[in-house]
């Protein structure tokens, strides 16, 4: 982490930012690699490159993109929970006035859950199958010495009721819960220490549509009630339109486009964003033909030269396959990494 860029954290970066408010979390130039395990052949995979975005207090940021584009890796890098093969090689994570990548593990442990919590993808696997749900919710509270045992017990009851689970089910095990309840229990767990930022990693994947709506509604209600910031990872653009204030569109480990929800939905600039939006049904033009993007996202061990999207892009120019385009400022708070866009190069 020697060549860290100087921070230019400014509130004006995020599109919807009230200029007085400062971001609670700002990620700058985050670059993460996965190295092959020792003794294994293979190249290292650059999972994230130069990812920057801001999270404002009380707002929701959506991270969208196809599978394998680095959404989850971004969250794991910010929380410093990468598997042992993952390395953050550059960047800063400024959170409430300090760089999370610079503090030691012991201090980081205190940040986790108390200040930033995460709802994992697939609640069944994120719950310990041989531990009672209530004990798992209580775990974080006791670990951080937030409350004594009795008060923690009361808090567990409150949290369960907040997410619509009867207190009486505190003593049950995860396999006795339904899929939606497990996800809600995960959310209750994440709220246990009243964090400032909540990461939700595809919280509605693998749930049926009814339950998806319930979980999203729950997240929104909780945000309204507690005023926390949410970073929502999803590939469901409908969900993003509904709940997010700003959106980071990722492709191949880089930010393709970044702006507020209105800018991304109504004035998408990057061909990838445009194609992504065209591949989703729209209520206003129900007769429009849905289109798919031909090809697959690049393998991270074998990234194309130049713009990572150029092999699949129908608007590519010669330059695209040579040099990777920088993020261009299109309008205030709206950035896209494409040569077709015109404007000043953005500096984060």
């Amino acid at each position: 982490m020697s060549e860290r860029h100087p921070a230019h954290a400014s509130a004006a970066l995020a599109g919807t930012a009230d200029p007085i408010k400062r971001p609670i979390l700002s990620v700058r130039h985050l670059t993460t690699e996965f190295i092959p395990p020792r003794g294994m052949q293979g190249k290292s995979a650059r999972a994230l490159e130069d990812v920057s975005f801001d999270v404002m207090p009380g707002q929701t940021v959506g991270l969208v993109g196809e599978s394998g584009c680095g959404k989850t890796t971004t969250l794991m890098s910010v929380m410093r929970l990468l598997p042992s093969t993952g390395r953050i090689i550059n960047g800063q994570v400024n959170f409430k006035g300090r760089d999370l990548l610079a503090i030691d593990e012991r201090q980081m442990r205190k940040v986790r859950w108390r200040e930033m919590a995460i709802v994992f993808q697939g609640a069944m696997n994120a719950l310990n199958p041989v531990m009672k749900i209530g004990d798992q919710i209580r775990e974080g509270i006791l670990l951080h010495d937030m409350l004594d045992r009795e008060a923690a017990e009361e808090r567990v009851g409150e949290l369960l009721e907040m997410v619509g689970i009867p207190r009486a089910r505190r003593d049950q095990y995860p396999h006795q819960y339904s899929g939606g309840m497990r996800q809600r229990a995960m959310i209750a767990m994440a709220l246990a220490c009243s964090p400032d930022v909540l990461f939700a990693d595809e919280p509605t994947t693998a749930l049926d549509v009814m339950i998806q709506a319930q979980v999203l509604e729950l997240l929104r209600d909780i945000q309204k009630a507690l005023g926390l910031a949410i970073v929502l990872v999803t590939h469901d653009l409908g969900v993003v339109a509904e709940v997010c204030d700003s959106v980071v569109v990722m492709y191949g480990g880089k930010v393709a486009e970044y702006g507020n929800a209105d800018q991304i939905y109504n004035h998408p600039q990057h061909p990838y964003t445009q194609r992504l939006l065209a591949s989703f049904p729209d209520v206003n033009t129900p007769t429009a033909q849905l289109t798919s993007i031909p090809g697959t996202p690049p393998r991270l061990t074998d990234l194309p030269a130049g713009c990572r999207f150029h092999p699949r892009c129908d608007a590519r120019v010669a330059k695209c396959s040579e040099v990777s385009p920088p993020l261009i400022t299109i309008s205030e708070g709206h950035f896209a990494a494409c040569y077709l866009c015109h404007g000043q190069e953005a500096h984060f």
Binding site: R112, N128, V130, E139, L143, M162, R169, Y173, M181, Q214
Partner: protein, 311 residues
């Protein structure tokens, strides 16, 4: 706690093989504990007939319940006092082996890297050396060395410190799969350190394995002790079942047709080993909470309400 013990018993009592195993082990333990109450004699007492002559090789029909040996000692008395020795060695060595094995297995599996490499190479070395010859050499050498410890302690330590290798491998492989599970990531996300994760998330998952393996290792330890004692490395002043077999063969019980001399200790070893194996298998099954699900009971309080109404 009390309730869960009752619950445990309720499920356990439904399992016939488990009950049989428990009975076999507990009866042997009880015989060892209450040995003085179960026999009027002492293991070194010589039985005499009405004329005061020593009863050697008296069959069970002459001197009950199990006859006498070549020196006129009561076999039943020797057997239940021998249970004390065999079981002590078995349990102590079994616990030591499990402790060392679990410690090595968890450390190697959880931390990985060079720690794992070092511990597993040590394990490999111990695994490839044939254990019986190694133990013979170790026990014999250590006994020569004038260490002022009882030969039994030497046997316990040698068995305990050599028989943890398979356990360590088993537990390591289990820990390897558990530590990659997402709930361990969640525990890290909560802000838990290594100690907390191992205690609260890894250990409860492998506890059934550890408990079941302890019981199985105890049976191995009893068998190995019998083997060593049979080869003459036991403590002759504190005869175990293996020592009894050694005496029986040394003193021509077979050529004398004194089956009551060598059958009882042999059967006693089978009795306890079988009990341990049955018990171990059943415990492993039972201590796994995923297999004891009392599914959604009919209870109004248990019905979930949609998130939107739950406030």
């Amino acid at each position: 706690m009390r309730r869960s013990l009752l619950e445990f018993w309720r499920i356990f009592s439904c399992n016939k093989l488990g009950l049989l195993g428990g009975f076999l082990v507990l009866s042997a333990v009880a015989a060892a504990l209450f040995a003085p109450a179960l026999t009027p004699h002492h293991p070194v007492d010589v039985m005499r007939d009405a004329n005061g002559r020593g009863l050697t090789f008296a069959p069970p029909s002459v001197h009950g319940p199990l006859g006498t040996d070549d020196a006129g000692r009561d076999i039943w008395t020797e057997l239940i006092y021998g249970a004390r020795v065999s079981l002590t060695v078995g349990f102590m060595a079994g616990f030591i082996a499990m402790f060392v094995g679990s410690l090595f297995g968890i450390t190697a599996g959880y931390f990985g890297g060079w720690v794992d490499n070092l511990l597993m190479r040590v394990t490999d070395v111990l695994l490839v050396i044939p254990d019986l010859p190694l133990m013979l050499v170790l026990v014999a050498t250590l006994r020569q060395m004038d260490l002022h410890v009882s030969p039994l302690i030497i046997i316990i330590l040698v068995i305990g410190l050599l028989y943890w290798t398979s356990t360590a491998r088993l537990i390591r492989s289990q820990v390897l799969t558990i530590k990659e599970r997402q709930f361990v990531s969640r525990a890290r996300a909560i802000g838990a350190g290594h100690g907390h994760i191992v205690r609260k998330h890894i250990l409860p998952q492998i506890m059934p394995l550890i408990v079941a393996n302890t019981v199985l290792t105890i049976s191995t330890a009893i068998l190995v002790e019998s083997g060593l004692a049979f080869l003459g490395l036991g403590d002759p002043t504190k005869p175990s079942w293996g020592t009894m077999l050694n005496f029986a063969f040394d003193r021509n019980a077979v050529t004398n047709g004194a089956w009551w001399f060598y059958l009882p200790p042999g059967l006693a070893i089978v009795w306890v080993s079988l009990g341990c194996i049955l018990l171990g298998n059943v415990l492993e099954e039972m201590l796994n909470p995923r297999l004891t699900a009392h599914h959604l009971e009919d209870d109004e309080n248990m019905i979930a309400i949609p998130a939107s109404e739950g406030k």
